[in-house]
Symmetry: C2
Subunit: 500 residues, 2 copies
Amino acid sequence: MEEKLAQLKTKLAEIVDLSQAAALLGWDQQTYMPPAGAEARGNQQAVLGRIMQEWATAPELGKLLDELKPYGESLDPNSDDARLIKVTAKDYAKATCVPTEFVVEFAQVTSLAQQSWVEARQKSDFSIFQPHLEKIVELRRKYASFFPGVEHPYDALLDDFEPGMKTEDVKAIFSALRPQQVELIKAIAEKPQVDDSFLHQPFDEQAQWDFGVEVITKFGYDWNRGRQDKSAHPFTQGMALNDVRITTRVDPNFLNSMLFGTMHECGHALYGLGSSPALDRTGLEGGASMAVHESQSRMWENLVGRSLPFWQHFYPRLQEVFPSQLANVSLNAFYKGINKVQPSLIRVEADEATYNLHIMLRLEIEIAVIEGNLAVKDLPEAWNTRMQEYLGLTPANDAQGVLQDIHWSFGGFGYFSTYALGNLVSAQLWEKINQDIPALDDQIRAGQFENLLGWLRTNIHVHGRKFEPQELVQQVTGSKIDPAPYMRYLGKKYSEIYGL
Amino acid sequence: MEEKLAQLKTKLAEIVDLSQAAALLGWDQQTYMPPAGAEARGNQQAVLGRIMQEWATAPELGKLLDELKPYGESLDPNSDDARLIKVTAKDYAKATCVPTEFVVEFAQVTSLAQQSWVEARQKSDFSIFQPHLEKIVELRRKYASFFPGVEHPYDALLDDFEPGMKTEDVKAIFSALRPQQVELIKAIAEKPQVDDSFLHQPFDEQAQWDFGVEVITKFGYDWNRGRQDKSAHPFTQGMALNDVRITTRVDPNFLNSMLFGTMHECGHALYGLGSSPALDRTGLEGGASMAVHESQSRMWENLVGRSLPFWQHFYPRLQEVFPSQLANVSLNAFYKGINKVQPSLIRVEADEATYNLHIMLRLEIEIAVIEGNLAVKDLPEAWNTRMQEYLGLTPANDAQGVLQDIHWSFGGFGYFSTYALGNLVSAQLWEKINQDIPALDDQIRAGQFENLLGWLRTNIHVHGRKFEPQELVQQVTGSKIDPAPYMRYLGKKYSEIYGL
């Protein structure tokens, strides 16, 4: 059996190597590739994708996994090898459920849909995108039908991002969360608004970049195993356990883009860099799920980077870098400014208090569409109604409403919820970390992040994809994903800032 | 047959796509990859290499080529399809001659040898490298033995870089060239030396970079289809017909590195970008051989970039960029300085007049070693003897002598000659271009390069790998590779500069 396990690991290592080559193609496409290289890049991605699909669904792989199943069950269920056999068997089963012709059709349909979405958004005309989205919804429903024993069609979609998570779980979490978030925002709206005008000034781009580098170097980002570049949309891309890169963008007239974008991506990268070396090239390196990944990025961005202790350490340094802009802005005013709550139309610009409402809106619509209870043609109206209900705003046009996000155009139904779940998990972990490291605030106030990073490594990062997200959160915090800690966190923070 | 041809093209396109993905891995390794990513990068390259080797030697490919042979012979022999079938059949025959075990062993031996070469050069101790080089020579001789009907073992090695070129051809060319080059250098040495001290001053790095960009933009480098980055050793890498990138290095205290390095790599890139779109993704895009490639890079670097008309256009601009360094240096003094002839120990620093002697020295040694007429242990002495004979210098140590170049450590026997052949071809083409474009000097003097680039595209670039180098040179100039034009070029140039 040892020999069969070694065979399995050899096959998986080659699939990982290929996926890492593909990851570099993607990274380059968004950072340095000259424009005219796009068509060839598509061909390069396609051939790698085809080989990976072939290898990941190869009958010999299935045979090996079948043979290894009893062996895996005989091991400590939390051991690397037991988990490797179990998780890989699930991956294999899922991959082989979907016919190759479907994969090809889906790639073609979404490729066209993405182009139509760009045009539709530019012209703010949903009708351009509508037929493409209808086809995508049809294919997503068909996709769900390939998996036997799935209770709700949305479960199949969710599982691609949050292994093991059910539609009912997500609904329950968000039902508990929604009234509390709406109430919080109402309470804030009744209070005088804080000033953040000083964040909207000219800030030298190189100086911004350098400050961001200083911060994430203190976080523990290892420049020997990563790098930072610029891109239109910040992202993190691992092309090896020892090569996890981030990008950021710098707005010359607004400090927040670089500041919180850099910390956010660093959070993702620290997770990717923290997998156990024993998991390297097995397919189990990386993260448990999108939500757990987002819990890490949001933790460094918000629970650390938008906290008072953090700025007690870093604000004097930031004032030193930007004296003419910030010399007359007090620490307290700065802290309030970066935590300003302001309902807005655009998800990616939302603050911590309103962000989850943007997600809930999308989630409800997604589920209804996949269930067949909402027609694609009625999406703009459904969007605008909820936007008014949750955030008190109505988009002036579809570009600022239903067309604002790219996700549906690539078929990413199920993706949005992970952003909100990530917020919840970040606060849930944070409560536990503060129990385990009572001096955490003092350490942050001193610019020391070793214990925090060490805790995350030991409890989260090292496990890679070994555990499903609910399993992992339960194991670490004692309960499954729970909205209460996040609401406690928001309540406490905004009570102080807005005097609720 | 049309259908079989289409099948062939589909298979070749996928091999090209993979090779382009591999090219990006290589480019990234030398530009942006964080240091700790190296080991994983090796695995990624290995798996792509293995798939490409499998596909390039697949029996179905051989069967298709056999079936297509009569069809190919029925077509116009210079047509794209006829050449595609012919060249691919040769590639296939060569690839299938070499056993896979040999390919694996060779990769392992050279990987270790490269590490030992680095150490040997650092310590200037040939004995560290000697056993590795002995093994490599043994494997190179074995490699040659795999090809039936090869007259001279060195022919097999040469063919990998210069398809169709024979050891006897190269020997004949260099035998004719050597006495003339030695004589020229002696004549120059008897004249007063020119001054180039003004090139060795501090020059702002960004200003250097910008000037280089200005020059190659005028050459016609298309930034939509390429880009320039920094690397320790400048190189050109195509990852698609529409994505051919260059790198350069900038020495803050010496103008030549950036200046001529940038033009050199641009020459390679223009060649890569000029293949006929009809050859895209066939394996016939790119260049005819290393020597023809080098003819392009050396032409833009030397025949254009070190010419008086070029600087009649660009020197006022360069003086504007670096007034404190160059305001008091006349055009004539500058032109002489960048063309200074000075025998030196290191090939990559050699001037146009002495460069080829560095190559001849290596070529003679390589042939003798592969023939078995020179033992690896005797290489340092053989090197130093020739260095004294040709250039009047003796290296102080092996690092400055036999250990200076990396090529043998990766088994690149046959590679060096292409540098010198490239010089010869560049001058041979230049004579023909000047016949076809009599106003070329005036155009260069006006900063106009469209006609030159147009000529190169039509006569050289567009053909990609369709023709073997000797065939191509014959077709364009009316004779095979010939050292006479290069000697006429050097003679004329240095007569003016040194008053011979």
